[in-house]
């Protein structure tokens, strides 16, 4: 590396990518600190995408890591540890949604609706993939649905501002947003994780 002398096109270096950032040597975690350092950001992302706000994401990230690290027997292979972390995250997320949002008839659907995707195969999720996925979801929506969600989620408009932009009443904008989100959930369910 380092032999390239021109800009515009430094080609792929021989060993670019993740290797230098790995805390473990080989494919085994020796201690909990190695597990933590290698996975805390990935778990945070996994959780964040399913709660959508930092305070909940921090609480649940802590819960997942505490639960998993208490039970893990180390040293253990990386893929086994990650599978266990993801499994724990599923349980913790389901419990979070059940505890705070169940009771109105949503109980039976929580597992499949909230926790559908995470699997150890795609963990850790790449941070850029979350935004790309959200953009893909928007792109697949009918025009009015996409418009209201873009105004809200991309441009941060209030309901009143979005309503004005779309030439509808505030209450109509809320209904449109609600329907658009339900449609987005269906679209998301059909997309690959």
């Amino acid at each position: 590396m380092g032999e390239n002398s021109q800009s515009e096109a430094i080609d792929e270096p021989p060993s670019s990518g993740k290797a230098f950032l790995r805390v473990v040597d080989g494919r085994t975690y020796q201690d909990w600190e190695a597990v933590y350092r290698d996975n805390v950001v990935g778990i945070y992302h996994l959780v964040f995408r399913r709660v959508g706000n930092p305070p909940d994401a921090e609480d649940l990230c802590e819960e997942v890591l505490l639960q998993a690290l208490r039970r893990l027997r180390l040293p253990a292979p990386v893929h086994e540890v990650r599978a266990y972390l993801v499994k724990t995250a599923r349980t913790v997320l389901a419990e979070h949604w059940r505890r705070h949002y169940a009771g109105g008839g949503a109980e039976v659907n929580i597992d499949q609706m909230v926790i559908k995707n995470p699997s150890s195969g795609d963990f850790p999720e790449e941070s850029s993939a979350t935004s790309e996925r959200a953009m893909r979801i928007l792109a697949l929506l009918p025009d009015r649905f996409r418009q209201v969600l873009e105004l809200r989620f991309l441009r941060g408009y209030s309901v009143a501002e979005a309503a004005r932009e779309m030439g509808v009443s505030d209450s109509n904008a809320k209904v449109l947003q609600y329907r658009a989100l339900r449609k987005a959930a269906q679209v998301a369910g059909e997309l690959a994780p």
């Binding site: 670019s16 805390v23 990935g42 505490l66 989620f153």
Partner: protein, 223 residues
């Protein structure tokens, strides 16, 4: 008056957009469907979040207290340790640059945190100094890092070329001496600061990449 589903869901969205913990309520299946979609779309506004570095350090301390017998000792995270922690998510070094900015310097803009020095970084030549007269910019890519070098009135500077909003690749604009985002009309100055934007909240400035001139070559410290 009892709130309607669209009101409850709208309030939930308001909370997500303000990055605060949303109100809890008993949701129907239809409402839950809408809420889960909202959580997936929430990162669109602020970009994808990395955890607050203070949280990462605090949590490690708490885990140590819980998992180890001896009383916890406060631990200061090293730059290397933080990069390693961030490594799981930093699939691309572009993300790594952002990680460096965000995790190592939570309170200040990128330029104050010092340049990125990844563990396995190497000085790599990207252009001859003579190819970059004052007022010119050149892009470079290592496959992992998308960057740009600029000659800003004689000062050579290297920056990440990835918009800190949603990760679109910025286009150098020599006339206005700026880096322009093709996605949302965000414009960064050649020192990495945000010149103008139309976003609801101001995006972070661009991370710098360490650079030097050696034997007539401009070199950047990258992976």
């Amino acid at each position: 008056m009892r709130r309607q589903p669209q009101d409850r869901v709208s309030r939930f969205v308001d909370d997500l957009l303000k990055r605060r913990r949303p109100a809890r309520f008993r949701a129907t299946s239809e409402e839950l469907e809408a809420l889960t979609a909202a959580t997936e779309l929430a990162p669109l506004k602020a970009g994808v979040d990395l955890p607050d570095p203070r949280f990462v350090a605090r949590l490690e301390d708490r885990l140590r207290q819980q998992l180890e017998d001896p009383p916890a000792r406060s631990r200061v995270w090293s730059r290397r340790g933080l990069l390693q922690a961030a490594g799981a998510a930093a699939a691309a070094a572009v993300v790594g640059v952002t990680v460096d900015r965000t995790i190592l310097n939570p309170t200040g803009p990128a330029s104050e945190s010092g340049p990125l020095v990844p563990n396995a970084a190497q000085w790599r030549p990207v252009a001859a100094l003579s190819e970059l007269p004052a007022g010119k910019a050149r892009t470079f890519s290592t496959g992992a890092v998308q960057g740009v070098i600029v000659n800003d009135n004689g000062k050579i500077r290297a920056l990440s070329r990835v918009c800190t909003h949603l990760g679109c690749v910025l286009q150098p604009n020599v006339e206005s001496r700026s880096l322009d985002c093709p996605c949302h009309r965000t414009v960064f100055a050649w020192d990495g600061s945000v010149d103008r934007h139309q976003l609801p909240s101001r995006p972070a400035r661009l991370p710098t990449i360490e650079s030097r001139v050696r034997e007539g070559q401009i070199e950047v410290l990258v992976v």
